[in-house]
């Protein structure tokens, strides 16, 4: 098993005819992801790499019985794309787009919840269940099927950790980049629960960064509900307060949201924190 995506994933690419959408469609398809359709208003009837293009997500859903969609549309249209997917009945929506206004995400997220669907992102690299399915922009060659679950607020930092895991013979059940914005969909708690319940996952790598207090809440959650080994890396020890470090969500506000606080929270509940990403595999191995 794995979480969220696997061989049963039937994917729609929203914005399939765009530069990024097209490029990553090729990559996802090459990896074996079952892409059943794409959308681009006015381009119904065309195809991208043999994948049929539809005008609307509803049309695509009717024709393809998709269950997952990935969004590559520009930021001003991301809210509409997320809501369109939810309204059409897509149950897992992954928004790659970065720079989406926060209040757009707040509204889309609420609507998606009402529709009983799940959101990953925005401003995220997507997720991968190695050798089964990849949805997003993950560099697939670094992943390997296995039993470590990976959860991360950062894209490239995820790859760094995964690269180290794979190099150390530790494959991944599923790796999820939750996104770097202040408000995104699925987060530590929901994903920790899924990994805890997934029989194929035996350990979890959690990659956090400065800003907010989600890591602190994750530490609490781990203490109460997670029995599998967890190792953590937190980025941003050198970040100055009040400065946004790339991600809209990565900012130390009024002295809270620091890496030090987050590291302390995990250490307080006995979860080891790596000094650099390459230490994660050993921290997990020593606890398995």
């Amino acid at each position: 098993m794995s979480i969220l995506i696997d061989k049963n994933t039937r994917l729609i690419v929203q914005g399939i005819t765009g530069r990024d959408g097209g490029f990553h469609t090729v990559k996802m398809k090459a990896y074996g992801t079952n892409i059943v359709g794409g959308t681009s208003p006015g381009k119904a009837g065309e195809n991208v790499e043999g994948i049929p293009v539809f005008n609307t997500v509803r049309d695509a859903m009717e024709e393809t019985e998709a269950n997952t969609s990935v969004i590559f549309v520009p930021a001003p249209f991301a809210k509409d794309a997320m809501m369109e997917a939810a309204d059409a009945g897509v149950k897992l929506i992954i928004c790659i787009t970065e720079g989406v206004p926060t209040l757009d995400v707040v509204e889309a997220y609420r609507y998606i919840k009402i529709k009983g669907a799940n959101l990953i992102g925005p401003n995220c690299p997507g997720l991968i269940s190695p050798d089964k399915s990849m949805v997003g922009i993950m560099p697939t060659m670094i992943f390997k099927q296995g039993s470590t679950g990976v959860i991360s607020r950062s894209g490239t930092l995820t790859y760094e950790v995964v690269y180290n895991l794979t190099s150390n013979g530790m494959g991944q059940s599923t790796a999820v980049g939750v996104g770097g914005d202040p408000i995104v969909g699925l987060y530590y708690q929901e994903l920790l629960e899924m990994f805890q319940n997934d029989p194929e996952t035996d350990s979890i790598a959690l990659i956090g960064e400065i800003g907010g207090d989600a890591e602190e809440r994750a530490a609490e959650y781990i203490k109460k509900h997670v029995t599998k080994p967890v190792a953590v890396f937190i980025a941003g020890q050198q970040a100055p307060p009040g400065k946004q470090m790339g991600h809209a969500g990565a900012i130390i506000s009024s002295g809270s949201g620091t890496a030090a606080e987050k590291i302390a929270a995990f250490e307080a509940v006995g979860v080891p924190v790596a000094k650099e990403p390459s230490q994660i595999p050993d921290l997990l191995k020593s606890r398995l």
Binding site: I96, E98, P125, R153, G155, T156, P240, Q244, G246, A248
Partner: protein, 379 residues
């Protein structure tokens, strides 16, 4: 993005919120004119700067006559508050405060929504109140699909006021402030303090607003209020080119794709005994021109002795990065050593392009970090 108090007050006033008339003054003479226009027994002179703690720094003063007014205006104009030089003061009549309240709308990560924060402990540093007496802060989660209906605003108003007339006024204030918050894509809209005057009026005495940078494209009037510091100009300039830059002051310039990896790169430099010069995230998608611009920006910092380029290719393809680097170094002649670490999408093609050049190539992040620190020391 931050704006000044006086700009926030103007926005509040335009939404019908109770803000007293105030004058923005760039010199003492203006302040004196404002004093006479106000014709009030007591006025307040307030420094307008993009930082908190004005009061403690002496940037807010009461004046009971023209002489005091002149003194205060002269003292405050030109004052340095946490590195910000005051070039404007606000002059407004002082009110007789019966009680002070805290009100703000702010984006809340936990509830993934906007929350209305309220406290009867107004006029104080709200983080201090939150820390010492969290039970005195009320948080009301707003459902974005229905906003702030009468009943919810009224529930909020009853948390601050007991008299039904004041509750009604506050209800309307909370609804207008939410409308302003949403209409402008704010990330914070704060009134601290909201006061009840001895005459029984409710008034916003100070206002603070910050805005979502990602949404500024649809609010050109607010974007026009941006007043960057020199450092922010550099960051802004970087942003306009599609990357995020924060100056830090060390010797090792960093160019990384992805914010998390960029932070981890900084942390690693420190871990190996070096000092990062900056945070520089060249972002998701990339093109050669962007890389050239990023290199120019990096090298404009004269403290930079070594550049560490750490690229893990997801949406950014390594061959694009390599081509950008080669083009950039065709244009920018520099003797500064460049350490490059390149992995991910199209990594083979990228590495091949860089083989046999003057760049120091590293396989792992650790190796790259150690090499950069080593070079910075020996340089």
């Amino acid at each position: 993005m931050k704006i000044h108090e006086y700009q926030a007050r103007e926005l509040l006033a335009s939404y019908g919120l109770p803000v007293d008339k105030a004058y923005i003054c760039r010199n003492v003479d203006d302040a004196v004119r404002a004093y006479h226009e106000l014709d009030a027994p007591l006025v307040v002179v307030k420094a307008q700067v993009h930082t908190g703690g004005r009061g403690k720094a002496g940037g807010v003063k009461l004046a009971k006559d023209e002489i005091e007014l002149r003194q205060h205006a002269a003292n405050i104009l030109g004052m340095d508050i946490k590195g910000f030089i005051v070039d404007r003061v606000l002059v407004v009549k002082a009110v007789n405060i019966a009680s002070e309240y805290y009100v703000s709308y702010v984006i809340d990560r936990k509830s993934k929504s906007t929350i209305l924060m309220l406290s009867r402990e107004g006029g104080m540093d709200i983080e201090e109140v939150a820390h010492n007496t969290p039970e005195k802060i009320h948080k009301i989660v707003i459902d974005p699909l229905i906003g702030v209906p009468d009943y919810l605003a009224r529930e909020a108003a009853f948390k601050l006021f007991d008299d039904i007339k004041q509750v009604r006024e506050a209800t309307s204030i909370f609804q207008k402030l939410y409308k302003l918050f949403v209409d402008t894509d704010a990330s914070l809209a704060e009134i601290n303090p909201l006061v009840l005057t001895e005459e029984g009026q409710i008034k916003a005495i100070d206002a603070k607003m910050t805005f979502d940078d990602n949404a500024l494209y649809r609010h050109p009037k607010i974007a026009a209020l941006f007043e960057p510091t020199e450092e922010e100009k550099k960051e802004q300039n970087a942003k306009s080119k599609g990357f995020s830059y924060v100056h830090l002051g060390g010797a090792i310039g960093c160019m990384v794709n992805g914010a998390g990896l960029a932070m981890a790169t900084m942390d690693m430099i420190k871990l190996y005994g070096g000092e990062p010069a900056n945070f520089l995230d060249i972002g998701g998608s990339s093109n050669p021109t962007k890389v050239i611009e990023a290199m120019k920006l990096l090298l404009s910092d004269k403290n930079v002795k070594v550049v560490l380029i750490n690229i893990f290719g997801g949406i950014t393809r390594c061959d694009d990065v390599a081509r950008g680097l080669l083009e950039a170094f065709n244009q920018i002649k520099t003797d500064i050593p460049i350490v490059i670490r390149l992995t991910g999408t199209n990594e083979k093609e990228g590495r091949e392009l860089l083989q046999g050049t003057k760049f120091h190539l590293a396989e792992t992040m650790g190796e790259a970090g150690r090499k950069a620190v080593e070079l910075a020391v020996s340089y």
